[in-house]
């Protein structure tokens, strides 16, 4: 979740009062008490009003962005999941924007604007997994992390500037000291992440979703990173201890402390995987197609397998897998792709593009006659398609 880190460090998160008087409305078991929460919080200090002002402007940009997924119901559904995770009173002050960006990320700004990226929606396998990430972001917000992070960065860069100038005056090398301070910026960021993880876990444990899910999210993300590295013939890079310049604790570390903390909490109930799958079904082909074009064979294969492990190989997943292999395009890949296209059809994939892409895979693999048959089937089913002229020319040659 490198991307999540970056955003969280550079201005996500934060607000809502710690000074509020509203008692927590949900039954709090020992260890699950949530901080008191107040509605309609208004920023109080110069710094905080400034951070809010920037957030208000950024929110206008999100609201009108061409990347926003405006189709009926998606943002409303995401809000339902957030409300289930953090409770109806807490989620009342949040606006959610679903953005078509394939990275694994969600973030929250000081004024209660939350954005959720399509890459997170693709990777989540249940409402509980999605909720774990949204809850983490909400925790940043409730803990007002974007404000305190901003203030901490200002203190550190002020010091770096003074020490640098002192070095210039004294003609001495101050990089060591400046380095230490710069590390502090990142250490602070890592501490914020851990705080948000642990508060997020308490939301999860009081939500009815399984308390073990947040740890699972990190494990799955590590597995994807490993698969991605392996697919590129690189070494796995999971480690327990964060480097000095990491803005987040390592995924391994997080999965371990989250699992330990969850073990002491009530187990929770249904992860609502079926409901999640149904809600995402209309968007899944689009999200999968974008992921396949990221040139990350290992990572994408991992995502497909992890979704399939949770919910079986659906026609959409089989088609996507065929696309993935066809895109890599080694002769063996083309053969495997043809097989997956056929499995997708056997499983009920009905779109005419299946015949086109199967035909292209066969053609590229030198199976010209079979390839033409498939392409002709595509043309028969979709004679007016945008690429029909091109495909017709391919068949004719």
């Amino acid at each position: 979740m490198r991307a999540l880190s970056r955003l969280a460090l550079c201005g996500a998160a934060a607000s809502l009062a710690m000074l509020g008087t509203t008692p927590p409305t949900r039954a709090a078991e020992p260890g699950l008490e949530l901080p008191a929460y107040s509605h309609a919080y208004e920023p109080r200090t110069v710094d905080e009003r400034g951070v809010w002002m920037e957030a208000d402007e950024a929110e206008r940009g999100l609201r009108d962005s061409p990347l926003r997924i405006r189709e009926a119901g998606l943002e409303a559904y995401l809000r339902e999941v957030l409300c289930r995770e953090v409770g109806a009173d807490r989620c009342a002050g949040v606006r959610i924007y679903a953005m078509e960006i394939p990275g694994f990320n969600a973030s929250m700004m000081a004024n209660g604007t939350m954005q959720v990226w399509s890459g997170l929606l693709l990777r989540s396998r249940s409402e509980a997994e999605l909720a774990a990430v949204l809850g983490h972001e909400f925790a940043h917000f409730e803990l007002r992390h974007s404000l305190t992070g901003f203030q901490q960065r200002r203190r550190a860069t002020d010091a770096i500037a003074w020490i640098g100038l002192w070095g210039a005056l004294a003609n001495s090398d101050t990089s060591f000291t400046q380095n230490i301070i710069a590390r502090g910026i990142y250490r602070y960021g890592r501490e914020q992440e851990t705080d948000a993880d642990l508060l997020g876990l308490r939301y999860a444990a009081s939500s009815g979703y399984p308390a073990s899910t947040p740890a699972e999210v990190w494990k799955n993300l590590m597995a994807e990173e490993d698969a991605s590295a392996a697919g590129r013939n690189q070494k796995s890079k999971q480690k327990y201890t964060a480097g000095y310049f990491d803005s987040h604790p390592t995924a391994l570390n997080r999965s371990i402390y989250l699992a330990e903390a969850a073990a002491k909490m009530p187990a929770g109930g249904d992860a609502r995987a079926r409901e999640y799958r149904a809600a995402m079904a209309p968007y899944l082909p689009r999200f999968l197609a974008a992921q396949i074009k990221r040139n990350d064979f290992g990572g994408t294969e991992h995502i497909l397998q992890s979704i399939a492990a949770a919910s079986g190989w659906s026609p959409d997943l089989l088609f996507a897998r065929a696309e993935l292999y066809r895109t890599r395009g080694n002769p063996r890949d083309l053969q495997v792709a043809a097989q997956y296209y056929r499995e997708a059809r056997a499983a009920g994939y009905a779109g005419p593009e299946l015949d086109r892409n199967l035909g292209l895979a066969l053609l590229r693999n030198g199976q010209a006659e079979e390839g033409r048959q498939s392409l002709n089937a595509y043309l028969a089913a979709a004679p007016e398609a945008g690429d029909a002229k091109m495909i017709r020319a391919l068949v004719a040659n």
């Binding site: 962005s65 061409p66 500037a161 590129r232 074009k293 040139n295 945008g386 091109m390 020319a393």
Partner: protein, 194 residues
């Protein structure tokens, strides 16, 4: 190291001297993108000094945000369309000798998504064409980048010649600019030769 720290911490501006953009006048123009590509524009263009790759050349009328013709001149098998910025974490797809002509738009889309923060892109139409006598594909597309709110449209022609990819694209904001200059691009594209 010390200089750098002083510079960074004090916010000193480092302004690299920009080499000049040059005028493309009407008339024959050989060796575009350091390749066999040639054209014979009838309109004036500006050639940007900036290069996105060894065999990549950019022409524009009002600046590359507003209208942009990119020539990819003979990208060989095994090479990406543009210079990779992060080989390790964001490797780009490479040209392959056995690619079909319909793989060209896919290669372009994948490159844009990885390198240029394009998160929405759709290829609209694809039809057969000829590029200097070679079998080619002409296609149109739409896309939006993560970092600005301007929707853009594109039109391109590409072909594989002797195992190398030759591709020319025209891109501009969907509002106003695309239509304003698309005919000038088409006139230019009609003069392309290899």
């Amino acid at each position: 190291m010390k200089r750098l720290l002083i510079g960074l911490s004090l916010g000193l501006a480092v302004v690299a001297p920009a080499s000049a953009n040059s005028l493309v006048t009407a008339g024959p123009r050989p060796h575009i993108a350091e390749s066999r590509f040639s054209a014979s524009p009838t309109d004036e263009w500006n050639r940007l000094s900036r290069k996105d790759g060894k065999n990549v050349e950019i022409w524009t009328r009002d600046g590359d945000q507003l209208n942009k013709v990119t020539f990819f001149g003979g990208i060989p098998s095994g090479k990406p369309l543009v210079r990779e910025i992060d080989k390790k974490h964001q490797p780009l797809p490479k040209v392959a000798a056995d690619m079909l002509i319909t793989d060209i738009p896919v290669l372009l889309e994948s490159t844009y998504r990885i390198q240029y923060a394009v998160t929405q892109m759709e290829v609209d139409s694809q039809e057969p064409a000829t590029l200097s006598g070679h079998k080619a594909i002409r296609f149109t597309y739409r896309f939006a980048r993560e970092d600005d709110g301007v929707r853009r449209r594109g039109e391109a022609i590409g072909a594989f010649v002797d195992g190398q990819l030759y591709l020319v694209t025209y891109e501009a904001p969907a509002l106003y600019f695309f239509d304003k200059d698309v005919e000038k691009y088409r006139k230019l594209a009609a003069t392309l030769a290899l």
